[in-house]
């Protein structure tokens, strides 16, 4: 399912003294099956963009097309439920949305709301739980008795059980330890590949964006300032640094190394593996240490 934002503006608390333009003239195309990262600092408007992706917010100007639904400014919308079933959102700290007595009931809550039968929903719950790396034995436990990391996974399972075509992730690893971080990110990546999901990752981590995304959108003060593939984006790292943005550690390392050793590699590398091969090759060609 394709999603596209065309010249979208969003104003919070319009017509009050607290009015604030959160995003301005944002145009983003998200073709089906893509892994896109939206990066920006706190307050750059990335979370506001995210909420347009399944019509939680309606643009105050411009339009958003989700599949064959078009959501325009100042227009009443119907049948938003079908959109919401197709576009699953994992909010920041999703464990805060748990409320049921048992893990199973919480996971099937979404599917049941979208009219899935109870037996089917329970089957989906089992599959989703496995996908997030938890065992069936916790199905009957109360979600509030689980550890923080487990709660997060249950909440994610609740979104996966809706079987969306598009999954939107808002800082899914916030507050997790480095290992949990990698596990969760790898899990989403394999889901993205296996189910051919469109994945939209909203994050401030350049590392994650460089590692997983096919396309990157950089936002600053409510505007899209840069769009492209990771290679395109990070090929001009100095420019990024000047914009006050971070570059992945690998890139930073490469720049420092080039500076120190006085050579230039043929391009910017985004993973440690690629970089180390390139550096070894360069060094074996002519040692200038």
């Amino acid at each position: 399912m394709d999603i596209s934002l065309k010249h979208v503006d969003y104003r919070y608390q319009a017509n009050t003294p607290f009015e604030r333009l959160a995003i301005e003239d944002v145009s983003i195309d998200i073709p089906s099956g893509v892994y896109m990262a939206i990066i920006g600092h706190t307050g750059s408007g990335k979370s506001t963009v995210l909420q347009h992706l399944n019509a939680l917010l309606q643009p105050t100007k411009g339009s958003v097309t989700i599949g064959n639904h078009e959501i325009k400014a100042l227009q009443k919308n119907k049948n938003l439920k079908t959109i919401r079933q197709k576009v699953g959102i994992v909010f920041q700290f999703p464990e805060h949305q748990l409320f049921e007595e048992t893990v199973e009931k919480d996971i099937i809550f979404g599917p049941l709301n979208f009219g899935v039968s109870e037996t089917e929903a329970k089957e989906r719950a089992r599959i989703a739980l496995e996908q997030v790396g938890l065992g069936e034995e916790i199905l009957d436990k109360s979600p509030f008795d689980l550890s923080g990391g487990q709660m997060r996974r249950v909440a994610i399972a609740g979104v996966l059980a809706m079987e969306p075509d598009v999954i939107v992730l808002d800082e899914p690893t916030a507050g997790l330890d480095p290992r949990g971080r990698k596990e969760v990110m790898d899990m989403f990546y394999s889901l993205h590949k296996e189910r051919n999901l469109s994945t939209i990752l909203v994050t401030h981590s350049m590392e994650d964006a460089a590692r997983y995304a096919d396309q990157i959108v950089i936002m600053q003060q409510g505007k899209v300032v840069k769009k492209g593939t990771p290679n395109e984006i990070f090929s001009a790292p100095v420019e990024l640094v000047e914009m006050g943005l971070d570059v992945p550690e690998v890139v930073r390392f490469q720049l420092k190394l080039e500076d120190k050793l006085g050579f230039k590699l043929e391009k910017i590398f985004l993973t440690i593996e690629e970089l180390s091969t390139a550096v070894t090759k360069e060094l074996s060609r002519g040692v200038r240490l």
Partner: protein, 265 residues
Amino acid sequence: MMDKMIFGRYVPADSMIHKMDPRSKLLIIFLFVCIIFLANNAATYALIGIYTFYMLGLSRVPVRFLYGGLKPVIWLVLFTLVLQLFFTKEGALLYQLGPVKIYEEGVRQGIFISLRFFFLILMTSLLTLTTTPIEITDGLETLLHPLKRVRFPVHEMALMMSISLRFIPTLMQETDKIMKAQIARGVEFASGPFKERIKAVIPLLIPLFVSSFKRAEELAIAMEARGYRGGEGRTKYRELSWKNADSLQMALLVLLTILLFLLRS
């Protein structure tokens, strides 16, 4: 949806009323609520009306916000008006339609009582529109200080008030966030049959309760960690200062009271 709640909210502006000491504002509102009952004829009501609108003008709060404060109570005002119209049976008969009789005194009472409501609401919303919640709490704490003699826990009350006021925006944000998360999971808060809508509140309330309790505990620990041990010997960061404007406004209110006594019938 939370964005539209303006009732009872502080509107920043640079005005004389905004700069006044919260103690004098609280006193003025309290006395105003008392003396408004002195009014009993056209002249006194007009006087109170002039005073109210003068204060509103001084505050420079846009009319839109005052309207926002009035909207929720407008039905109550209309209801009392109708009640007075139909059930007061004094004075000359003005109009009759079958069993419904409207008397002169009914019209008079109806209009007066509605006006009284109207002025009261305007003045009390003026307090919340021009004073931050923290100022109101500080003001109340100082004004109620004498009650300490009778072992009334003034400081604790004020602390409770400021904590709850402090967490209203947080709670609203949290509500908004959880609501959106549940909408994304297919809950419909705004449509569907009534029974379904009531049921839809559960996935909102439970997470809110859970997070509020957690937050309360964290706050208590954080306060203890910073050495909080009640109000004994505690000094204040924000000191209240009584200015000329405060004395002037108090004098104006006293003048109003005297005039009301002179003009009432």
